[in-house]
């Protein structure tokens, strides 16, 4: 490290040279050195350097860039002498015209300002409004997005850190707001990675930062909302929402009418859901901004003025239910309503009476609306609302019933609104519907509603609904097969499940479940099993899952045949549920065992686990009933996934692997499918927890892709490995699931798959491709780039199976095409077009349709060729083909045509 004085001596010649270029080189060298060593300078040295640099700013223009670099380095010094920041900026603003500098020098200036604002805030504030003026002049006309981000940051600092804007408020607003709304498309392969969103966010922080901008910003937003460009509208609405949360009522007072007109238009004549919801959000913020206001004695209440406007425009639409403005009006009212208590009072008072009036006349359309006004205060209307809901629940019109349930739910969520008697009535209605309703959609809605209500009013449900359901289940079972409806029981179980989910936290109800319901359900299931009834299990399964505590009893029931805890105990003792009996109806009970033991948290010890595991393994390898052996395999896998690491686990896995592989290797074995099922579930259990022994099993799976009998199943197996399973081995069951296990599996195994594909004989290739497409469908798209050339090559394969699975693999990739694919567009297009008259033409046409959404300049050269080729499938003999061709051709016609895209 050289002392800086030494440098002056050394460079004296070039710094004092009469040639500006030579001087510039000297200053450049000095600046570069300073960049390396600004931390080591003393205050005195800094002072000298600043004086030198300030002087150089007046020198030849060619010297300015290195001077700015040097000054930037100095702004990072911690020992900047007092007053130097101010003098530096004064000479900068005075001697340099920033916008005539090059890109990097402009960025240099912005960085200086940012550095100084970080460290010398008090000094800069001393400059007063001059600082703001200097900045406004510097950034006026900036066009580069990188520099704009910096400039916006400075502007934001100025606003948020309380710099004095003086009389330059409007100038600062003008110089930033001229970019609004941001219209920027990053160039292809842009190395800086600046996105439109970053710019939008940065600018929005500036514009919405201070109420001082309100008088300029609000008219601008109203003007931009008139724009035809969707993104401009969206940006305007979001900016409006952002700034309104800062403003007070006096800032917006004079623009209320204009804002309302624009917002109303966006919602009434909306063409896009995003704009509509942005408009509604803006309305909510506007209303809550007005609601926050503190009124003076002489000022008018701007909230009620504004809501009068809203009501005037919306209310009458509500009374004309056959017209299309009903819904938008309801949405607007709801948005305003949800802003504050006062707003909801005003609106409810004005709207509810006429809504209730209408509901009695034309219920179907109107009933949907009160449910949307849920935020409001209803108490005055409780009685009429309740009677309306209950009468709707008794109607036969299913959509009316569904709306009524959702309305009941939202009413119940109003704390303290419904009386106990209302709840009881509601429970009666729900019970009746649960047990008698035949329409699936209604049943589902009722179950949802019962679940929601049970969480809020557990007492009523425990005393009324649950006993009723229990007796119903009993009745159904005891009545034997006559009038037995599996759906009914399943439905009852579903609602039990919903209720269980909601109430499991309270001790009392939990007790009720564990002591009464679960044993009863198990006993019913067992009874059903002994009588040979089926279809009951799937219903019970979900309820049983929730009852972890019962696990130890369940284990002893299954292992030891201990039936003592079941009610109505008339079972033969020593039933052996896990031993291969003659009846699959008993063996399938294992799925209840799975429900009991596989959803336990990892910390809970499962009793007698080794014995349990070995019996499960035995069952899954020998049983012949598909549900039974699959459930046993899943249960086994669920337990293996949670066992703690160690030798006992490893030896268990090795034993199982050996057994499974030997069954699979003997092609004549009668239980190959069973062994395969166990293998795939265990492989999944291990894969999820990154267990090293999973490789043996997945390798086996790869080798089975070439197997004559199991090849297709193996290919499907990859989908099981990669997707989440609903009943075991998911996070909800507390399974050990590591993040990114799919990506990891893919990166470790994609090479094997490609190799296998290349080596496989023609007739086996479809299995590999199918396996591949199963993996690819679950992966983030960038991973598939590696496989593109494989896919493109597979399109040339004459086998239809290969073509079809390749196309189905390609289609999701085409929706978000990686750059590598675009480079191979010629090959892709001609190979796809070659297939549009073959037997895989539908899939091929879909891919061609997807191609039409590629970047326009890339695919435009193919337009004429594709349109010509697509004329032929328009006359295909199959309607499904024609319809795909019509859609694809329509999109390609729009491409590059005015108004098209």
């Amino acid at each position: 490290m050289f002392p800086s004085a030494f440098f002056f001596l050394d460079r004296r010649l070039s710094l004092t040279s009469s040639q500006p270029h030579t001087r510039a080189r000297g200053v450049q060298l000095l600046s570069e050195v300073l960049h390396e060593c600004y931390g080591n300078l003393t205050e005195r040295e800094v002072e000298v350097l600043i004086a030198f640099y300030e002087n150089r700013l007046k020198d030849h223009y060619i010297i300015t860039p290195p001077v700015l670099q040097g000054l930037r380095a100095l702004t990072k010094c911690t020992v900047l002498p007092p007053g130097s920041a101010v003098s530096m900026l004064r000479s900068l603003f005075q001697d340099v015209h920033v916008q005539s500098l090059m890109l990097t020098e402009r960025s240099c200036v912005y960085n200086m300002l940012i550095n100084l604002m970080e460290t010398r805030e008090a000094e800069l504030k001393g400059l007063g409004a001059d600082f703001v003026f200097g900045f406004v002049q510097s950034m006026d006309g900036e066009r580069d997005p990188r520099n704009l981000l910096l400039a916006f940051q400075i502007a934001k600092n100025i606003i948020h850190r309380g710099y004095d804007l003086g009389k330059f408020t409007e100038e600062l607003f003008e110089v930033t707001s001229c970019y609004f709304p941001i219209d920027f498309t990053p160039p292809a392969n842009d190395p800086h990675g600046i996105t439109k969103e970053e710019l939008i966010e940065a600018l929005r922080a500036v514009l919405s930062g201070t109420p001082k901008f309100a008088e300029f910003l609000l008219p601008l937003i109203i003007e931009k909302l008139d724009s035809d460009v969707q993104s401009a509208k969206l940006d305007s609405l979001q900016t409006l929402t952002a700034c309104l949360s800062q403003y007070e009522h006096k800032d917006v007072a004079e623009f209320l009418e204009g804002l309302w007109t624009s917002l109303r238009r966006e919602v009434f004549q909306t063409s896009s859901e995003r704009i509509e919801s942005a408009g509604l959000a803006a309305l909510t913020t506007l209303t809550s901004c007005l609601s926050r206001s503190v009124l003076n004695s002489d000022s008018e209440d701007s909230l009620s003025t504004f809501l009068d406007l809203v009501l005037k425009d919306c209310k009458h639409h509500l009374c004309e239910p056959d017209l299309k403005l009903v819904w938008p009006s309801a949405k607007l009212l709801q948005a305003a309503c949800s802003a504050s208590n006062r707003a909801s009072h005003i609106i409810t008072a004005a709207v509810m009476p006429s809504l209730i009036d209408q509901c009695t006349v034309i219920p179907p359309v109107c009933l949907s609306r009160p449910s949307t006004l849920e935020e409001s205060v209803f108490s005055a209307f409780r009685e009429s609302l309740c009677s309306m809901v209950f009468s709707a629940l008794s109607e036969t019109n299913s959509s009316l019933q569904i709306t009524a349930t959702s309305m009941l739910t939202s009413l119940a969520q109003q704390t303290g609104l419904l009386l106990d008697s209302d709840i009881e009535l509601a429970v009666d209605h729900l019970t009746r519907l649960l047990l008698t309703e035949e329409d699936d959609r209604v049943s589902l809605a009722v179950v949802e509603c019962a679940g929601a209500l049970a969480a809020l009013h557990p007492a009523a449900f425990i005393t009324k609904l649950i006993p009723r359901l229990k007796t119903e289940i009993n009745v159904v079972l005891c009545s034997g097969s006559v009038g037995f409806s599996v759906e009914e029981v399943v439905l009852a179980c579903r609602s039990l499940q919903r209720i269980a989910e909601q109430v499991q936290d309270t001790e009392e109800t939990g007790q009720c479940f564990h002591e009464v319901i679960i044993p009863r359900l198990l006993s019913l299931a067992l009874q059903a099993a002994l009588q040979g009834l089926s279809g009951f299990l799937s219903g019970c399964f979900h309820v049983v899952r929730l009852a972890g505590q019962t696990a130890s009893r369940a284990v002893s029931l299954f292992l030891d045949g201990d039936v003592s805890f079941l009610p109505d105990n008339s079972f033969p003792s020593h039933i052996q549920l896990l031993k291969q009996g003659d009846s699959w109806s008993q063996s399938q009970m294992v799925c209840l065992l799975m429900g009991c033991v596989c959803s336990l948290p990892r910390s809970v010890e499962v009793p007698q686990i080794d014995q349990l595991l070995s019996q499960l393994e035995e069952m899954s390898c020998t049983c012949s009933h598909p549900l039974s052996y699959t459930s046993a395999a899943k249960c086994f896998a669920g337990l293996v996934n949670k066992r703690s690491q160690g030798d006992s686990l490893d030896s268990l896995i090795q034993r199982t692997t050996k057994r499974v592989c030997s069954e699979l290797d003997s092609t004549s074995s009668p239980v190959r499918t069973q062994a395969f099922t166990l293998m795939i579930w265990v492989a999944k259990a291990l894969l999820l927890r990154y267990h090293p022994l999973s490789t043996a099993l997945t390798d086996k799976l790869f080798s089975l892709l070439g197997d004559a009998d199991l090849g297709a199943m193996a290919a499907d197996g990859f989908s099981l490995l990669m997707s989440d399973s609903a009943d075991v081995l998911n996070r909800g069951c507390h399974a050990d699931v590591r993040i990114m296990y799919r990506q990891r599996f893919f990166s470790e195994n994609s090479a094997k798959l490609v190799q296998g594909f290349n080596a496989a004989p023609q007739e086996k290739k479809p299995n590999y491709l199918k396996a591949l497409s199963n993996i690819v469908n679950k992966l983030p798209k960038q991973e598939t780039v590696l496989l593109l050339s494989l896919l493109l090559e597979a399109l040339l394969c004459p086998d239809q199976g290969v073509q079809l699975s390749t196309l189905s693999c390609l289609e999701p990739v085409l929706i978000n095409p990686p750059p590598a694919l675009i480079q191979q567009l010629e090959a892709l297009v001609s190979r796809l077009l070659a297939l549009i008259c073959s037997s895989v033409r539908i899939a091929s046409l879909r891919c061609i349709h997807a191609l039409s959404r590629f970047p326009e300049h890339e695919i435009l050269p193919f337009r004429a060729r594709v349109l010509r080729a697509l004329a032929r499938p328009l006359d295909d003999k199959k309607r499904l083909v024609r319809s795909e061709a019509v859609q694809a051709r329509g999109e390609w016609f729009l491409l590059g045509s005015p108004g098209g895209r």
Binding site: D226, K324, A871, V886, G890, F893, L894
Partner: protein, 166 residues
Amino acid sequence: LVSSGGLKMSGGTRLENANPVIFQRSGERLLTASEEDEDVHDPIDDREIFDILSINDPEHPLSLEELNVVEQVRVKVNDAESTVGVEFTPTIPHCSMATLIGLSIKVKLLRSLPDRFKIDVHITPGTHASEEAVNKQLADKERVAAALENSSLLEVVNQCLSTRNI
């Protein structure tokens, strides 16, 4: 790279019929077993043409079907003789967009049907003030071709034909 503001104003475009009666959409066509059978030939029928015509109205965010401008009973196709006839009903008798709607229907059919078809698009008799003039324009091949050379006209037609999913 960043343009400084200044967007086009849409300026005073008012809807002619801002609050039309809307009609329920007919459901999706149900798939029959024979349609999935590769060996069976499915003739082009009225419903298929009707489904092709799910076009947006140029002034409403609604489809022509929802506005009852196009109805299935007013679509006639004869696959064997390669003819298609479509009658459309403007929402109001003075609708200035009638020609444009007719043109959009015609263009959509030209793009979606095999060459062999002769396409006839006209206004449902008695539903428009200048019915004859519009029908004459729509039937004149050269005028249709000339209209589509006009890029601002083509722009509106394409907007009607683009699937709205912004």
